[in-house]
């Protein structure tokens, strides 16, 4: 099983990104960056994959999908969150239909920065993730129980959306406006 870090297979899922990071992930596979030279292959089947690349924030609609993909992947596995949106929602953080970063739903091992993330940093993030993958593999081999189950990350998008009304939804928006009006009055 030592070969796993020499030839990791990846699966890519688009949360609710703007496409910027997605096309950069795809660009990694094309001749200019060519991640296949590291033995990395893009697969569409979660049961074949070792690394999950997620772009974009999660929303109520895709939380079950993300969980399902993650749970179907065999252990050891790692998650790489690509771009600012996957980390915490980024520029869309305050949108009413965004629930936040990927780590609200599943455990994330590596965060790749950037808006949009550059192919170099994506490759860097994946290579960094290989170290984590090797550690997890060693832990599993020594008989530790598998920590990677999404069930530990219970998150209710509906209650979040309702809370959002008060915390970062309309109420705050109205405050922004009224503050501006007060300033204008002065």
């Amino acid at each position: 099983m030592a070969a796993i870090t020499k030839s990791p297979w990846i699966i890519h899922y688009d949360g609710s990104s703007c496409n910027g990071c997605d096309i950069e992930v795809l660009a990694c596979l094309t001749p200019m960056y060519d991640v296949e030279r590291f033995g990395i292959i893009n697969t569409g089947n979660p049961k074949h994959a070792d690394i999950l690349l997620i772009t974009g924030a999660v929303n109520a609609q895709n939380i079950p999908v993300v969980r399902q993909i993650y749970d179907q992947m065999p252990s050891p596995k790692i998650v790489v969150a690509i771009g600012v949106c996957a980390a915490n929602g980024g520029v869309f953080k305050e949108c009413y239909n965004i629930a936040g970063g990927v780590d609200r739903v599943i455990p994330v091992d590596v965060y790749v920065h950037g808006c949009a993330a550059r192919p170099e940093s994506i490759i860097d993030g994946v290579v960094k993730g290989l170290g984590v993958l090797a550690e997890k593999q060693a832990a599993l081999a020594s008989g530790e129980t598998d920590p990677d189950v999404s069930g530990a990350y219970l998150f209710d998008p509906v209650s979040y959306a309702e809370k959002g009304d008060i915390e970062n939804g309309d109420a705050e928006g109205a405050k922004d406006r009224s503050e501006a009006e007060e300033e204008a009055a002065k």
């Binding site: 496409n19 520029v91 109205a174």
Partner: protein, 360 residues
């Protein structure tokens, strides 16, 4: 009559980089009806006008889509500039046109690659994306970003691009023209490619108009509704003739986009030869949008609307973006009727769907 079956297509499907769902009603191998359903990645970013002041909103609008990002930034600036009643310096208009046409090349090459992947010609996909990297390098040299640049601001451009750099840009593009022709020959003359595209998914001129098709989708059917003809940017000054095809099949849609790649090089060359010197931005002080304005831009995928409404405050009342894929969904449903199940992925690709644009 044979039995009808409903096959769900998407939201996760190997040819779709983004989630869209179609319920395909099929009889044997023929699609009888297709019902689209979208909304998987709706973010609601138009509502961020309540939280961002109008000069900052441009960064949000640019992130509607990472492929036609520059066009979105330009469209937003255009509607706000129209709302304020200001006009930007001519050099800024030229720079915007150059970057927008460069964006069109990048988008069309990306699409050509995805199409090649869709009909199973992987080396063609790799070649398209290899040439696209040259365009992205030009973006990086001139603006600092590969896909999202934030170089457009209300009132002009954030920074100037020196004339020498523009000259070099033109030379680089002329340099890859030969390779682009080789690529185009495979798409347009190769028998295996033609067997997947010619006569597949025909949209007649009448249907294209009736169903409100826009962009290359409409032009492939001979409907001329290219927004660049309304004279925005410098298209009126440099002269512009849209690429039209008559047959309306997948091959025509592919041909329109290939012709536009070469047309973009010519338009950039014309802009570079005609660009005047001068400022690239005007200062806007103590003025807030207080009216309404509908701006239109010809995106790589077609006509896009940008509507802004303000009431003299720092926060706008409404920003509305209608993106081209939104208008091309009804024609897609039409061309899917009667097609073979195996052609569905190609037909979905030929409208060049951009779901993150559509759902905002």
């Amino acid at each position: 009559m044979s039995k009808r079956t409903v096959i769900p297509f998407g939201p996760q499907h190997p040819v779709l980089p983004e989630p869209i769902h179609l319920d395909l009603v099929i009889e044997d191998e023929t699609v009888v009806e297709a019902i689209p359903s979208i909304g998987y990645i709706h973010r609601g970013l138009e509502k961020l006008v309540d939280k961002n002041e109008w000069p900052e909103m441009v960064y949000v609008i640019e992130r509607i889509c990472g492929i036609c990002s520059f066009g979105h930034g330009w469209g937003y600036c255009k509607t706000i500039e129209g709302n304020l009643g200001v006009s930007v310096p001519p050099r800024a208009e030229y720079l915007r046109t150059i970057l927008h046409e460069l964006g069109r090349m990048h988008s069309h090459l990306l699409w050509l690659g995805c199409l090649a992947d869709g009909f199973g010609f992987e080396s063609l996909f790799m070649h398209s994306w290899r040439l696209r990297e040259t365009v992205l390098d030009l973006f990086e040299e001139t603006t600092g970003g590969r896909v999202i640049f934030s170089i457009c601001k209300v009132g002009g451009m954030r920074k100037d691009i020196p004339n020498e750099m523009l000259k070099k840009m033109e030379e680089t593009l002329r340099g890859i023209e030969g390779e682009l022709h080789e690529l185009a020959d495979v798409f347009l003359d190769d028998d295996t490619v033609k067997s997947r595209l010619v006569g597949v998914g025909v949209l007649t001129k009448e249907e294209a108009f009736e169903l409100g098709a826009v962009g290359p989708m409409a032009r492939a059917s001979g409907v001329n509704n290219d927004v660049r003809l309304d004279g925005h940017g410098v298209y009126g000054e440099i002269g512009f003739e849209p690429c039209l095809e008559e047959t309306g099949d997948s091959y025509a849609r592919c041909k329109v986009r290939i012709r536009e790649v070469f047309q973009s090089i010519d338009l950039i060359a014309k802009c570079v030869s005609m660009i005047p010197d001068g400022d690239v931005a005007i200062e806007i002080k103590g003025q807030n949008p207080a009216g309404e304005f509908v701006g239109r831009i010809e995106q790589p995928r077609g006509e896009a609307y940008y509507y802004s409404k303000g009431s003299g405050q720092k926060f706008l009342d409404r920003i509305r973006v209608r993106t081209p894929t939104n208008a091309n969904v009804p024609p897609l449903v039409k061309i899917l009727q009667g097609c073979e199940l195996a052609d569905v992925p190609i037909l979905v690709l030929t409208i060049d769907p951009c779901i993150s644009c559509t759902e905002r």
